[in-house]
């Protein structure tokens, strides 16, 4: 057993243990906290799997924003009634456990039965990389080879925002989501809110810019921007926006709309939907990424803020 494998093994065991605690914890608040630490550990695992892009995304979205969302929900919802229904007991619990073990064993069997020489698209992706003008193959997959998935994914975020909004009450429509912070934020938070956002914007822009060649990209950059925005609101420096605001709507759909527009323009400019003119791929991709980053930041922020409420209140 090499040292690196030893590290991987202990990391895996630790990750599983934290995940197990997140599942089995008594209180939902503890469970959510465990889930956030689990996300951080998972990001480490991704680094060990040579997937820095994914690690960044996992840390930013999978752990960070999701964690914030869940913590907020746990604070609002609490543990519920004391005599909470424990829906599965005794034999049912055992049976469920058996099914779950069977599922795990099945997946493990499938994974272990995979051919020794793994089928891969890496050579193809590497071969076509120069024609995209990009250095990062993951970005090439996201924005060129499988651009349709990324386009639809950015649209999924918009769908989710609409969905979240429709869970508001009728009378709250047109209002603002609740501010993520307290009514009177503490001094340190205000300070952070003043200091960190410019830094966040810098980091976010950097992530997008380097995404073309190095790990990073629109989603990671967007998350950082979203985090900065949320922090500003939490610090009480800005109010959450009204969901009817024209600029907000425009900012929300701008990225996907631009992406879609470039895609349709591809019919004329590059002879295919979502193709880029030869030799100008990188420029187009950077413009799309910039717009997407901004819209993603808005969408993630709105998703984290939740449904509008408190119409007419400050």
């Amino acid at each position: 057993m090499t040292l690196s494998f030893g590290f991987d093994l202990s990391l895996a065991v630790l990750t599983l243990a934290v995940a197990g605690y997140a599942i089995g914890a008594r209180e939902s608040f503890a469970s959510v906290v465990a889930f956030i630490s689990y996300g951080v550990l998972l990001a480490l695992v991704w680094v060990r799997l040579s997937a820095v892009d994914v690690a960044l995304t996992e840390a930013a979205i999978g752990s960070g924003v999701t964690g914030a969302l869940l913590i907020g929900a746990a604070a609002k919802v609490g543990e519920g009634a004391v005599d909470a229904p424990r829906s599965v007991r005794g034999a049912g619990r055992l049976l469920t456990a058996l099914f779950c073990i069977a599922t795990t064993l099945g997946i493990a069997t499938a994974f272990l039965s995979l051919p020794e020489k793994a089928p891969t698209l890496a050579p193809l992706a590497a071969e076509h990389l120069p024609s995209t003008g990009l250095g990062n193959p993951v970005t090439a997959v996201l924005l060129s080879y499988r651009a349709i998935d990324t386009l639809l994914e950015s649209v999924v975020l918009v769908f989710a925002v609409v969905g979240v909004w429709t869970f508001a009450s009728d009378r709250d429509w047109g209002g603002r989501p609740e501010s993520p912070g307290k009514d009177r934020p503490e001094q340190p938070l205000t300070f952070l809110g003043q200091i960190l956002p410019p830094l966040g914007i810098l980091v976010g822009v950097h992530l997008v810019w380097t995404g073309a060649t190095e790990p990073g990209g629109a989603f990671q950059g967007g998350t950082v921007l979203a985090a900065a925005w949320i922090l500003v609101m939490a610090a009480g420096l800005r109010k959450p926006p009204s969901i009817e605001g024209a600029w907000l709507r425009f900012a929300l759909i701008g990225g996907p709309a631009l992406f879609l527009g470039v895609g349709v323009a591809g019919f004329a400019l590059a002879k295919a939907f979502l193709a880029y003119p030869e030799g100008h791929s990188k420029a187009f991709i950077l413009v799309i990424e910039a717009a997407l980053t901004f819209s993603i930041a808005i969408a993630l922020g709105l998703l984290a803020l939740g449904a509008p409420g408190r119409k007419g209140h400050p």
């Binding site: 829906s87 599965v88 049912g92 099914f99 779950c100 069977a102 599922t103 099945g106 069997t109």
Partner: protein
């Protein structure tokens, strides 16, 4: 006369006439959707069957009408048994249409009634023309299901009658679609033509299943024992005109089905014998139960069960022997029954509104119609009896047929007595618009079968044959004697529940309800989250396991 018929039968516009016969009621039915056109609804009842009446003369044995712009092309053709039944059926619809139009009072409620009437008419016309399985099934469904609207049109208590009717009708549809799927699958190229299916039937691997399902499916329509349970309550609940077209017209859809779909020329003994036994039992069972009934319409329904039993027995005998003649004979018998029974229902409608005096004047004519069913000399009934004589043979079945004529006489005379009891000294008598259709049916039931018989068989005046005259007269005399002798006794018979065995079959429904409550409980468990999520995992594990655990 014959030459003229021949000339007409090769009429060049035959197929177009078929289209008009179906199209006219269809268009008029659609017209009922418009409030403005709905006002003329009663007139539609009279106009709609005229085209079919024309078609049965003009399009008989002409070329087929093929509409092949559909996934299943529709092929319509009018062969001799089809033309005969179409003729008498459209005549009946015409008469009943006049009756219904004259008795219609409530303008606002008539729209739906007219639409249902016309839909049933489309089905009843089409079923005699359809030469392919798909359109036959379509027309059969049309003649069966919209009739529900006719049955429940009037009586408040009709709910259960309508429900029973539609249940049996749907059961018939289910039997038939299975039978037709088997029939079409057995043809080499999956042809949907009925003739192709029937040709391939004797060699079909599913021959017995197909014929059994056909008998069950069409049996629901002709009220074959024990699928007759719907008939009494349906005819009693339906308005008179509707009962007339259902008992005289719609029922023939079942007859034409059996005629069309049986592999004539190939002996199928088992099913043939079963049909003979069921049919002959119904012939007497119907009379026996009918005698105990109080309501004249119910009695007529039981008479239908009995008469259709004879038709079924004739067809069954033909199936046993592989005798093609049975089909034509049964069709002629059914045609006469349709006219007579339709006329009798109209008569019930006329007489139940009569004063005593008018009743006394009209009853003899109604009696003519009633005894025509038993084969009264000079009536169409003689011809009908003659038509099934050959297929039934001289043996046991022939004797039973004669015996059933005695039984029918008994039932019909008892029926007349029950009708006469309806008379009340009232001022208002039914108008001629109601009486005329009844007389038209009386005339038709006497003349139409005779005319057809001469046209087809080229016989001399058979009914004047002395031997035949006696042969058909004595069962009626015997029947009349018994009726006179047993009059008191008949009056005192206990009234059996309408629908006889059907009345006891309601019990399983209670069981079904209990099963339903269990289903509710099961559903509540199944829709609990852990159970549903567990089921999801089980499905995943099962599908995966099918391959992984395979040795």
């Amino acid at each position: 006369m014959n030459d003229a018929a021949l000339a007409l039968s090769t009429f060049a516009y035959g197929p177009q006439t078929l289209a008009a016969a179906l199209g006219a009621p269809l268009v008029l039915m659609l017209a009922c959707a418009s409030a403005r056109l709905r006002r003329f609804g009663p007139a539609y009842l009279v106009v709609a069957p005229l085209f079919a009446l024309a078609a049965c003369v003009l399009a008989s044995d002409s070329g087929p009408l093929v509409l092949d712009q559909m996934i299943y092309p529709i092929v319509l053709v009018l062969d001799p048994p089809g033309a005969l039944l179409l003729g008498v059926t459209s005549l009946l619809w015409l008469a009943a249409g006049i009756f219904a139009a004259s008795s219609m009072r409530d303008e606002t409620e008539s729209g739906a009634f007219v639409a249902f009437w016309l839909a049933t008419l489309v089905g009843n016309i089409g079923v005699f023309m359809a030469a392919d399985v798909a359109s036959f099934y379509l027309f059969f469904a049309l003649v069966s299901l919209p009739a529900y609207g006719l049955i429940v049109a009037q009586a408040r208590m009709a709910d259960s009658a309508g429900g029973l009717y539609v249940s049996v009708a749907l059961l018939g549809e289910a039997f038939l679609i299975l039978a037709f799927a088997l029939l079409a699958s057995a043809t080499p190229d999956h042809s949907l033509l009925i003739s192709d299916g029937v040709d391939a039937l004797p060699a079909s691997p599913w021959r017995d299943a197909t014929i059994g399902l056909l008998i069950a499916g069409f049996g629901t329509k002709i009220g074959l024992l024990p699928l007759h349970v719907w008939m009494p309550s349906t005819y009693r609940a339906a308005p008179v005109a509707a009962a007339a077209v259902l008992s005289g017209g719609a029922v023939n859809a079942g007859v034409i089905g059996l005629v069309r779909f049986f592999p004539w020329g190939h002996a199928v003994p088992v099913w043939g014998e079963a049909l003979v036994v069921l049919g002959m039992s119904a012939a007497f069972y119907g009379v026996a139960i009918g005698l105990t009934q109080r309501n004249p319409k119910t009695m007529l329904a039981y008479s239908s069960i009995s008469q259709m039993g004879l038709v079924a027995a004739t067809l069954g005998a033909g199936l046993v022997a592989g005798n093609k003649g049975a089909a034509a004979g049964a069709a002629l018998y059914a045609a006469h029954h349709g006219l007579a029974k339709g006329g009798l229902f109209l008569a019930v409608g006329v007489l139940s509104g009569c004063g005593t005096l008018r009743m006394r004047r009209l009853t003899p004519f109604v009696g003519l119609l009633a005894l025509s069913l038993a084969g009264l000399p000079f009536s169409g009934g003689v011809i009908a009896k003659l038509a099934i004589k050959q297929p039934l043979g001289d043996g046991l079945l022939g004797a039973l047929s004669t015996l059933s004529a005695i039984a029918t006489t008994l039932l019909m005379l008892h029926f007349l007595r029950r009708v006469a009891a309806l008379a009340e000294p009232r001022v208002s008598n039914p108008g001629w618009a109601l009486i005329t259709p009844m007389f038209a049916m009386i005339a038709a039931s006497i003349m139409a079968p005779t005319a057809y018989y001469f046209a087809i068989e080229n016989h001399r005046l058979v009914s004047l044959d002395a031997a035949l005259f006696w042969e058909s007269l004595w069962p009626i005399l015997v029947g009349a004697l018994i009726a006179a002798a047993a009059r008191r006794w008949l009056e005192r018979l206990p009234a059996l529940p309408e629908g006889d065995v059907g009345a006891f079959a309601a019990r399983p429904f209670g069981l079904f309800a209990r099963g339903g409550a269990a289903a509710d409980r099961g559903e509540i468990i199944l829709r609990r989250w852990p159970v549903a999520a567990g089921a999801l995992m089980v499905v995943a594990i099962m599908i995966s396991g099918m391959g992984v655990l395979k040795p």
